[in-house]
């Protein structure tokens, strides 16, 4: 059986630290034996005690320190224990790391990745369950990625650092304990491949990758949920749904995402975030601009309710995006025209 996402991430970090002696990893409680709140950093500090450091509780300061390492020509990865706390590092990300790549009148490489354990469904409550991607969409110089069960994290992280631009990597907490997909196989019905010039977009299809009634685009955190919805749609509703999961959310890789959407003429974008200024709305705008005329229906977005995320599981479910919400959206889009 394929490795779990948390193992893939952990191995990716091992490999990156081994490959690049200039890479430092910082975060709260990341050293052994604890190895991070979600155990992503296990074993790293034992091998590289000087380059893997537990820090005080200082999210802004840690990202600043990492920015300094990057400014000095090194690479840095920061773990924010819960992505909700990246709010405390907003200034360092917006006004230092991202701006420094350009505001001195020339390109300055800033090799910095901020890892953000993200999302709900674990009963951690309103300040430990958010999906803050949208707050960072469209910051010049900053890229956004999301972990998925289709994308090898060593490739993703190495690619992010290689751009010389800072980036955030969102990691849906529910994903950690699930398994990576491997060898192009999702299950007995669905196959996947990685498409686009950087093999950045995972495409999950049944039978024929060139044919679908609807395209469902989701970030990595919703990938498994999207696949299970696609399966149900196929089996219960006879709707062929192709799922696209980009690793890089921003900048949007429109050239790779648009052709399948154009072919189907119908698209649903689902995110766990609340609505308003989201990555999905931005993608919708690109689709409307560029595929006007080819679309059979407006882009349909699926979000969590406009609400704080309650702690109790039975309440959390009433707020966060459920499979049924995505299912319904696809059905409506497909039957709507």
């Amino acid at each position: 059986m394929a490795e779990r996402v948390v193992e893939n991430l952990n191995q990716a970090l091992h490999a990156l630290l081994a490959d690049d002696p200039g890479l430092t990893l910082l975060g709260e409680d990341v050293v052994d034996p604890y190895g991070g709140a979600f155990k992503v950093t296990r074993g790293l500090s034992t091998r590289w005690p000087d380059r893997v450091r537990s820090t005080p509780l200082s999210e802004g300061g840690i990202v600043g320190v990492a920015g300094g390492l990057a400014l000095a020509g090194q690479s840095a990865i920061v773990e924010i224990m819960f992505s909700d706390f990246v709010a405390l590092a907003f200034d360092q990300i917006l006004n230092f790391a991202s701006k420094s790549t350009a505001m001195y009148g020339r390109r300055v490489p800033i090799r910095l990745v901020v890892r953000c354990p993200t999302g709900g469904n674990r009963g951690y409550g309103p300040t430990h369950s958010q999906s803050p991607q949208k707050h960072f969409v469209g910051i010049p110089g900053l890229s956004l990625h999301e972990v998925s069960p289709f994308h090898d994290n060593r490739t993703v992280l190495a690619g992010m650092l290689a751009t010389g631009r800072p980036g955030l990597l969102f990691e849906d907490k529910v994903l950690y304990t699930t398994r990576m997909y491997a060898d192009g196989v999702v299950d007995e019905l669905f196959r996947y491949d990685l498409i686009g010039p950087d093999a950045d977009v995972a495409r999950i299809w049944v039978d024929d990758p060139g044919q679908a009634d609807c395209v469902l685009v989701v970030p990595g955190g919703l990938a498994a949920r999207a696949v299970s919805v696609a399966r149900e749609l196929l089996l219960r509703d006879d709707i062929v749904c192709q799922v696209l999961v980009p690793s890089r959310l921003w900048p949007v890789d429109a050239d790779t995402l648009l052709p399948p959407i154009a072919r189907a003429g119908r698209v649903v974008v689902a995110e766990e975030s609340t609505a308003g200024g989201t990555w999905g709305a931005e993608l919708a705008h690109v689709v409307h601009q560029r595929l006007w005329g080819a679309l059979r229906a407006p882009v349909r977005l699926v979000h969590s309710a406009d609400s704080v995320i309650p702690t109790a599981a039975h309440l959390e479910r009433t707020v966060l995006v459920q499979d049924a919400d995505i299912h319904r959206a696809v059905k409506e889009v497909v039957s709507g025209d």
Partner: protein, 312 residues
């Protein structure tokens, strides 16, 4: 100015009034039950117990009035139970059952009731409490805002922004630092340079360190501090050297055996049991049984409801 109350553990702890002992034991058994329930998979999410630190809010209880604001943190069950005689409401909140203080929306870490508030972002409450203290100073002199915070939380810049404004503006803000020598998995020595006393003094704020874990001793050390905060309308930092006997949250404790033994050796519970076996055993039994009954009762309740009108 820092003063230190360095009572070395006396041969015997002070004998407590029943009401204090009951409260200590209520908190102890409440927390133990939570860990049990987590262990049995009956609880969802996360929680942070205050095992070993129960005496802090118990010592403070009679020193506070309903008009004071209390800002708790992630490790807040003891703070809540010392303020409200309401284990049912708190457990229902943690379990998401009917009668939950916050309808199960906040859970263990996010509670608001009257003038008591906790939230999950470390350090964030310090400036908020300073704002509340500014209001109290102007509108309700003699009242104060108390913030509980851990040693690790002194890593956050927000704490210093709050201290600075509180000192400049003479605000009745009391920071109660539960210095348990660790933040999640990181020892204080690895996350806090200098000292908490120094950090208070740096802002011209008085500081008192209390090493005793004896409820009565702590209370008598803190009495004059709270009086001073009220009367002079001035911030104050109280640092309690305390001991986290349990894990950080559910089962995450990687401390070495000697570190755990050190914490255990300072636990008021065993020491009190030994000193006053008779009083202890009776009350311990009673509180254990009471909590067991609370657990049974709340477990039997239906899920909490969150009305549309309450959704903000």
């Amino acid at each position: 100015m820092t003063a230190t109350r360095t009572e070395a553990p006396p041969t015997a702890p002070t004998r407590l009034a029943d009401v204090d002992l009951d409260l200590l034991l209520l908190i102890r058994h409440f927390e133990l039950s939570l860990l049990d329930m987590f262990g049995r998979g009956e609880l969802h999410g996360t929680t942070h117990t205050c095992l070993g630190q129960e005496y802090v809010p118990v010592a403070l209880r009679p020193l506070l009035t309903d008009g004071d604001f209390v800002f708790s943190n992630h490790r807040g069950h003891g703070h809540y139970l010392a303020r409200f005689d309401d284990p049912h409401g708190l457990l229902a909140e943690v379990m998401g059952r009917e009668g939950a203080v916050c309808h199960g929306v906040g859970g263990s870490q996010h509670i608001l009731r009257d003038r008591y508030l906790s939230t999950g972002v470390q350090g964030e409450s310090a400036p908020v409490a300073a704002g509340v203290a500014l209001h109290l100073k102007r509108a309700e002199p003699g009242r104060l805002a108390l913030v509980y915070l851990g040693d690790g939380t002194w890593g956050e810049g927000a704490v210093y922004e709050a201290l600075n404004m509180a000192a400049l503006w003479g605000l009745p803000l009391l920071l109660v630092v539960e210095n348990n020598g660790i933040a999640q998995s990181t020892p204080t020595t690895a996350q806090l340079a200098g000292s908490i006393g120094g950090r208070a003094r740096a802002f011209g704020v008085d500081h008192l360190r209390v090493t005793s874990t004896d409820t009565a001793v702590v209370r008598s050390a803190l009495g004059p501090v709270l009086r001073r905060v009220r009367e002079r309308c001035t911030p104050y930092v109280v640092e309690l050297l305390t001991h986290r006997v349990g894990p950080h949250s559910k089962g995450d404790d990687n401390r070495r055996p000697d570190e755990l033994a050190y914490a255990k050796a300072h636990d008021w519970y065993a020491r009190y049991a030994e000193a006053y076996p008779e009083q202890f055993t009776a009350h311990d039994e009673r509180q254990r049984a009471y909590v067991a009954q609370v657990v049974r009762e709340v477990t039997g309740r239906p899920a909490s409801r969150w009305a549309e009108a309450d959704r903000g």
